[in-house]
């Protein structure tokens, strides 16, 4: 029950933050793909860096047990195909699953339509799952993490990603100024 309440609270905070970041607007999101507005990139990369630094330091201080954090399994080909399909849908709709809910909640019609499409897609996939299943389970690689894969410390990866983010933010701002 507590977990459900926490989920509701986190969900509302997430939606509110997305909306405040301006990610409820399809034109803003689509700007990402034309390199005119890199808000999505900046918001998402900031979130990654924040979560990563938080997880690393909380684990380091003994507050968070990283072994209890779920690491999703990798299925190379199905995830590649899913990612491509997701990307195409994102460009066409101008919204992704989370932002479509935010857009719909603020009364935007396109958000509601994207949500409808999303749930239709979920239903269609569920109904067509039997023939898809072989592909769905192919090229399984288990839970992968960068430190495992590259045989380096977590700290090195954390540092590298923070450095990458800061450089990328600089670059993104320059691109936006030019646009």
């Amino acid at each position: 029950m507590n977990a459900l309440l926490a989920a509701v609270a986190i969900g509302i905070a997430f939606g509110w933050t997305l909306e405040r970041a301006g990610l409820g607007s399809a034109p803003k999101l689509a700007g990402q793909f034309y390199f005119t507005d890199l808000t999505v990139f900046k918001v998402m990369f900031s979130a990654i860096v924040t979560a990563m630094l938080g997880a690393f330091w909380l684990a380091r201080l003994g507050i968070l047990d990283l072994s209890r954090v779920y690491v999703p399994e990798t299925y190379l080909l199905p995830q590649l195909a899913g990612g491509l399909l997701f990307g195409v849908g994102f460009v066409i709709a101008g919204l992704c699953p989370g932002t479509s809910c935010v857009a719909a909640a603020t009364g935007r019609g396109d958000g509601a339509m994207v949500m409808l499409g999303m749930f239709s897609g979920v239903l269609a996939t569920g109904l067509a799952f039997a023939p898809l299943r072989r592909f769905y389970e192919s090229t399984a690689r288990g839970s992968l993490t960068l430190p495992d894969l590259l045989h380096v410390n977590y700290g090195v990866i954390v540092f590298a990603i923070v450095a990458m983010a800061l450089i990328a933010f600089q670059f993104a701002e320059r691109l936006e100024k030019r646009a």
Binding site: N2, L66, R68, F129, A140, S143, Y154, A163
Partner: protein
């Protein structure tokens, strides 16, 4: 200004992370260099359930209608198929129940407080038995987590193991589990927190 401060904070924490892990590397894993160990500790309460079920096997004398056992996959099929008058009674602590419980499970402090009716099929997830038709879930919640939520099989498994895996996979997906075909069966088992449903 705020953005600059945030960037400096992130950079500082990132550099400190680098220094921290070079000066105090995490313990190496099976001699594979300096990796963080990713062993998943087994939750104590889940083991306690298995132990309780095992004790029940040993302590209770065999008598008619008592202590039939049911496998986790069979029980999963019962729940999915909405077997009439099925009741799943969980006698573990409230904390253990809150952390993880089977779908449709009801928690009671004792079997007496569950107010069972004669025509009901009872599956005990742990605890004591009575002198009536009661199934005990073989392996307790641990078995549910391993066999229903996380069925695994190696690619070169024999046909009968494959058939069992296929059967388990069907119910596994129904309950939001993740059946996996792996190169090597995992040495450490997944814990309760990891089987919660997840999404993005």
């Amino acid at each position: 200004m705020i953005r600059r401060a945030l960037a400096i904070a992130a950079a500082t924490l990132g550099v400190l992370a680098l220094i921290a892990s070079i000066r105090h590397p995490e313990p190496p894993q099976d001699g594979e260099g300096t990796q963080v160990t990713r062993s998943r500790p087994e939750p104590r309460d889940v083991n306690a359930v298995s132990a309780a079920a095992a004790n029940l096997e040993i302590l209770q004398p065999r008598s008619a209608g008592l202590r039939m056992t049911i496998s986790a996959v069979e029980l999963a099929e019962w729940i999915r198929d909405r077997k009439p008058n099925l009741r799943i009674i969980d006698l573990r602590s409230e904390a253990a129940f809150d952390e993880y419980h089977l779908p449709r499970a009801e928690r009671f402090d004792s079997l007496a407080s569950a107010q069972l009716k004669p025509d009901e099929t009872i599956v005990l997830v742990s605890g004591a038995a009575t002198n009536r038709d009661v199934y005990v879930l073989r392996g307790g919640v641990r078995a549910w987590i391993d066999e229903v939520m996380n069925p695994t099989i190696t690619a070169d498994a024999p046909p009968d193991a494959r058939a069992a895996y296929e059967r388990a996979s069907i119910v596994s997906r129904y309950f939001g589990g993740v059946p996996r075909i792996v190169d090597n069966l995992p040495a450490t088992r997944v814990n309760a927190a990891a089987v919660r449903r997840r999404g993005c």
